[in-house]
Symmetry: C2
Subunit: 130 residues, 2 copies
């Protein structure tokens, strides 16, 4: 089972903040990228493709860390530590469209690379509320 999320943390995660996702590359170095995300049933979902470096990183080492700053206060943040539990095909890009709406796009279209889209599901092992 994943970590318990307090109502406070759930509230922070509800905001459509661009978060920083850390992964580990096959050579053992670290990578950080901005990502859209959504909290779904106690896990974090991302839209990604099976052609990109982060996906290869996660097949090699499933460790993930997500930095979510407080809305309006970049000095406070929640860090979620966990790992990839599932890479779910999203061949119509439906979850991409859902995230685009969450992040303010009023008329999102399926992405050109929909056929390669996957939903990365991150299980949460630990929550650090900084």
């Amino acid at each position: 089972m994943g970590a318990e999320l307090t109502p406070h943390v759930t509230d922070i995660l509800a905001h459509p903040t661009v978060a920083g996702l850390g992964t580990i590359r096959p050579d053992g170095t670290v990578q950080v990228n901005p990502m859209w995300y959504e909290l779904v049933d106690g896990t974090i979902w991302f839209t990604h493709t099976n052609k990109r470096a982060k996906y290869r990183n996660l097949l090699h080492n499933p460790a993930m860390s997500l930095m979510v700053t407080y809305p309006g206060d970049p000095y406070r943040y929640v860090e979620l530590r966990g790992s990839l539990t599932e890479a779910r095909p999203d061949p119509t890009g439906a979850f991409y469209v859902r995230l685009a709406e969450r992040y303010g796009d009023t008329d999102p279209q399926a992405p050109a690379d929909a056929a390669d889209r996957v939903i990365l599901v991150m299980g949460i092992d630990k929550v650090i509320d900084g």
Copy 2:
């Protein structure tokens, strides 16, 4: 020698953006935290202490990755990949004060933990301009 920084990247780094620093923990998992930084002579300087987890991470594995989003556009970013090249004692907290000024504090004071302060110097091996 480190990576060459273009004028464009140097301009992005000149803004006092709170950046996301990725490091690797001794157990091989990844950690991401918001950090103040400054570009100094082609390296990135951070203020930190020798008592905290990130410092221990870096002694164990010097890999670092810094995500710096464009001012006003969180979807565009520069990722700097590199490693710790030096941890320089800062026992008066002078570099902490300098960074606090850079980030808008008009009357910064030396931190209470000045005696433990170190400057983490990150050498830049690769620049990804996303």
